[in-house]
Amino acid sequence: MATAAPTESSPRTGTTMGEVPGTIEQALLLSRYQFRDYLRSRRFILMLAIVAVIGGILSFILAYYNGSSTVAGLTSSSDAFYGSLWGGGVYVVIIFAGIIFGGDAIAGEFQNKTGYFLMGLPIRRATVYGGKFLAALGASIVAMVFYLAILVANGAVYLGTGLFPVSLLESFAIALLYLLALLGAVFLFSSMFKNSLYAVLVVAILFLFGFTLIEELIIGLVKIEPWFIIDYARATIAYPFDANLPPHIATVVTMGPRGGTVTTTEYNPTYPEGLAIMAGYFILTAIGGLFFFEREEFT
């Protein structure tokens, strides 16, 4: 063991420090600052712009085709209105929010070297992971609420005021579960890559096209229920608005191109199944992401 002779030095007064906060307190503290960083960032403005564009297009279509049978059907009840526009559309907002706020959340710590600032502090890696997850969740919820506000404003015009159904709250809660599952997966990919671009690309490709393609291939070729694909579960977001839920498995017979018939099987998740898939995705991807982050080195 190498040691050298002690060197004299004058005494230091020192400061009196409190206890290092607990894991949850540190995670909340970190998420607060990270959330503040998101709110001030260009990516947040980009996210709001994306939501504004989506909401703007929907508002324009509703106004332009007002009076047509399609819009009349949509505006016939609050369930029909929110079932289509919220239940069938919020997942796009969630996917964009996940990519924008979560894609580089962990990869960026390595690539941008912000991790060197945080990891030198007395804080566990799991706490950093949790804090960043909470911040991305918060920023994504802001985007979701903005989208909801646009729809409610349209609802006020076409449905009349006071039409804020309980089913919308229920659907919002399921959308939050979908957001948790998606962010879990996004953070997992972000932990696996040290490069933000790779992480964002993989997440964008998988969630915008990849999973949908895989789901269709599984149903079309393998002919099994794609219960292990997160995309499959997202139909559950619209279930609170449906008085009659679609059948779990349905055989559909359609006319073929040469007069024959084509029989296909259609799968729809059951309510508990959809929720279980989302919860399962969240738990497994969170554990997986944390596993990778705990082992990744700042080389």
């Binding site: 290092v20 060197y116 080389t299």
Partner: protein, 314 residues
């Protein structure tokens, strides 16, 4: 408690490359220890293992007796560190970054405020305290990082080439800051490849190369070791110095072990026997009226030992 840092059989391999090879080093007490070595010697690898940024293949790193590998949170509680040039979230201001750092360390808000003012003043960033870090130059960011590492007034400070990226004035300021920290009863472990910086600031020095510790000693002992062996001295003359003069009046002087010509007006010689021998050689050459205009040791003791030790391994 006496501040301490200890590496026990600390080893790091990247594939087949051994970046650090069973490092055993114990630093204890209030002092500044320079961690020297050429690029790729294993300095940053060591410091990163002390701050849990990378994980050892074998061995353990301890700060104040707590293993960084088993309990990073407790080990880093009273340790301020600066590894490479960390980036701070660009939309935060230095004050907010310090607020975050202090809050995560468990400092009270009023304490964070008062210490922030002190450390920002120390790194000369008071004027920029409320500007967004994203607009700062590398040097300015490094100052904020130094401020963050000192915020909690830690017992142990680990600095990885803290003057990197700074202009000469900034480098001098960082040296002053580190020198100021030394007066405050704490253990500073600072890597550097600038020998003059280490001589200027540190009390002790550890030299590493190819992942192995070559020596660890006080700067005083380093000087003694070198002066006991040969010291290299460079002589400059007012005009060209002849080979005959070198052969008859310089080479034969007591204590001179070798002489070679640098150019027409300069020669370099090795003198054994310490400072007394150097003084005698100087007096005799001056008395010989050869037109001597300067007589200076060409390297510091540390530089000589550094080069000796590094060349052994190459």
């Amino acid at each position: 408690m006496t501040p301490s840092i200890e590496a026990v059989e600390l080893t790091k391999q990247f594939g087949t490359f051994t970046a650090l090879d069973h490092l055993n080093l114990k630093l204890e007490g209030a002092k500044c220890v320079g961690f020297l070595g050429p690029n790729g010697a294993g300095k940053t690898t060591t410091l990163k293992m002390f701050t849990d940024l990378i994980f050892p293949t074998a061995g353990e790193a301890f700060i104040n007796g707590v293993s960084v590998q088993t309990d990073r949170k407790r080990a880093l509680t009273d340790c301020g560190d600066l590894i490479e040039t960390p980036e701070i979230y660009p939309s935060l201001t230095p004050l907010e970054a310090l607020e975050l750092s202090g809050a995560l360390r468990g400092m009270r808000p009023e304490e964070i405020r008062s210490r922030s003012a002190v450390v920002l003043e120390e790194v000369k960033m008071t004027e920029w305290a409320t500007q967004k870090v994203g607009r700062f130059s590398k040097g300015m960011k490094q100052r904020v990082n130094i401020a963050a590492s000192l915020l909690s007034d830690p017992d142990v400070v680990i600095l990885d080439e803290p003057s990197t990226g700074l202009d000469p004035r900034g480098m001098a300021e960082v040296r002053n800051i580190v020198r100021g920290l030394k007066k405050e009863n704490r253990l500073i472990f600072m890597s550097s490849h600038i020998l003059s910086e280490v001589v200027d600031i540190c009390d002790e020095v550890a030299l590493i190369n190819h992942g192995k510790l070559l020596f660890y000693d006080t700067l005083g002992n380093v000087s003694k070791r070198i002066t006991a062996s040969a010291t290299s001295v460079e002589l400059a003359f007012v005009g060209p110095i002849s080979d005959e003069a070198i052969g008859t009046q310089i080479v034969k002087l007591p204590g001179v072990s070798s002489v070679y010509r640098v150019d027409a007006q300069r020669v370099r010689m090795s003198i054994t026997g310490g400072r007394e021998a150097q003084a005698q050689v100087l007096e005799r050459i001056a008395a010989a009226h050869l037109g001597l205009v300067s007589f200076e040791p060409s390297q510091s003791a540390l530089e000589e030992l550094y080069l000796q030790e590094i060349s052994k391994g190459d």
